[in-house]
Symmetry: C2
Subunit: 180 residues, 2 copies
C-alpha cells in the first residue's frame, strides 16, 4: 500500500498496526471552504488520486477540527492558535477525518467523526500549551498524543481519528489491511 500523506502521525499509526507500506506525499491543492464533512473526504480523495496508478493501492486522508460548523486546519500563527484554544476550552468539538482508497481505477472513501471535550482551560494552561510549540504542526492547534493530552477531558469515538487516521474506518475500507 502507498500512503499519500506527509504526516508522521499517519505513518506511525500504520506502523503501530504492523502494516507494510510506502510513503508518497501528494502534491495537491486542498479545499479549504465548504461543509467540513465533505471537505475532508474530497481532500482525502484528491491526495489518493494524485498518487494513484495501476497495480497499487493508495490511501489518502485529511483531518480537520470542527467547531461551530467551521473546519480548522493548522493555525497560521500563534495568535490564531491562542484564539482557537480559547474557543475549544470547556466544550465539545468534532474531529473529522476523510479517508480514501484508490485501487486500479476504483475509489472508496469514508468519513470518521470523533467528539472531543476539552477541559476548562485557564489562561496559564493556554500559555503553558502554546509554549510547547505543538500548535504549529497540528490541525486544530493541538496534539492529543503529545502534551495536548493535558487539554482533553474526554472523547467519544475513535481515538486514532483525533491523532490523524481513523483505524476502524480504515479496517472497514481495507478489510485485509492487517494481513495484507
Amino acid at each position: 500500500m502507498i500512503l499519500a500523506s506527509a504526516s508522521p502521525r499517519r505513518r506511525a499509526i500504520l506502523e503501530q498496526l504492523g502494516v507494510t507500506f510506502a510513503v508518497e506525499p501528494p502534491d495537491v491543492e486542498e479545499l479549504e471552504d465548504g461543509d467540513p464533512s465533505e471537505l475532508v473526504v474530497e481532500n482525502a480523495l484528491r491526495k489518493a488520486r494524485d498518487r494513484a496508478r495501476p497495480g497499487e493501492r493508495v490511501l489518502g486522508a485529511d483531518t480537520a477540527v470542527v467547531v461551530d460548523g467551521v473546519a480548522f486546519g493548522k493555525p497560521a500563527d500563534i495568535e490564531a492558535a491562542t484564539e482557537l484554544l480559547r474557543r475549544l476550552s470547556g466544550r465539545e468539538h468534532e474531529v473529522m477525518s476523510g479517508i480514501a482508497l484508490c485501487a486500479d481505477g476504483a475509489e472508496r472513501s469514508d468519513l470518521a467523526v470523533t467528539l472531543v471535550r476539552f477541559r476548562e482551560l485557564r489562561d496559564e494552561d493556554v500559555d503553558w500549551y502554546l509554549a510547547t510549540g505543538e500548535w504549529r504542526d497540528h490541525a486544530g492547534g493541538y496534539a492529543i498524543q503529545k502534551r495536548g493530552a493535558a487539554l482533553v477531558d474526554s472523547i467519544q469515538g475513535d481515538y486514532w481519528n483525533v491523532v490523524g487516521l481513523p483505524v476502524p474506518a480504515l479496517l472497514a475500507l481495507v478489510p485485509d489491511l492487517l494481513r495484507g
Copy 2:
C-alpha cells in the same frame, strides 16, 4: 514526584506530559476480589502508601478491564487471553483506573472509568492478535496503544485511562502537575 509503578505505559504518559518524576515500583499484595471500582482505588492506595515518606509526593495507580461486573487483570495464559478477547468482541466493557497520591501523611484518591467498544472480532482477528503476544503484559489482554488499536471500535471517556493512567483525573488530583 515518585511514580510507584513498574508500568512502562504509566512512565511514558508522565514523560509525554513533561512531568519530572522518579520511578519506584511498589512491593505490595494486590486485592483481586471485590467490587472493581473499590478494588482499583484500594490497590492504587496500597502502591502509593508502600513508597510514601516525608517530603515526597507518591503516585499509585491500578487499572482493570471490567466486563459483566468482573475485573480482569493480565491473563494468566493464552487460553485465558483467548477466552477474554472472545468475551470482549462486539460489545462494550469498562476500563477502570484508581489513582492515589500520598503526600506528607495526606492521602487523596480518585476513580476514572472509560467505556471501550470492541469491533466484532472474527476467529482470524483473535488469532492475529494473540500472535502479537501483547496479551501477556496488559490488563484485559490487549494494548490499545499498540496493535490492539485494531480491536477497538470506539471509546467514551479518557483515552489515557485505557492505556493505564487517567490524565484529567490526575490533573484534578495534582493541579500543579504540569508546572511542578
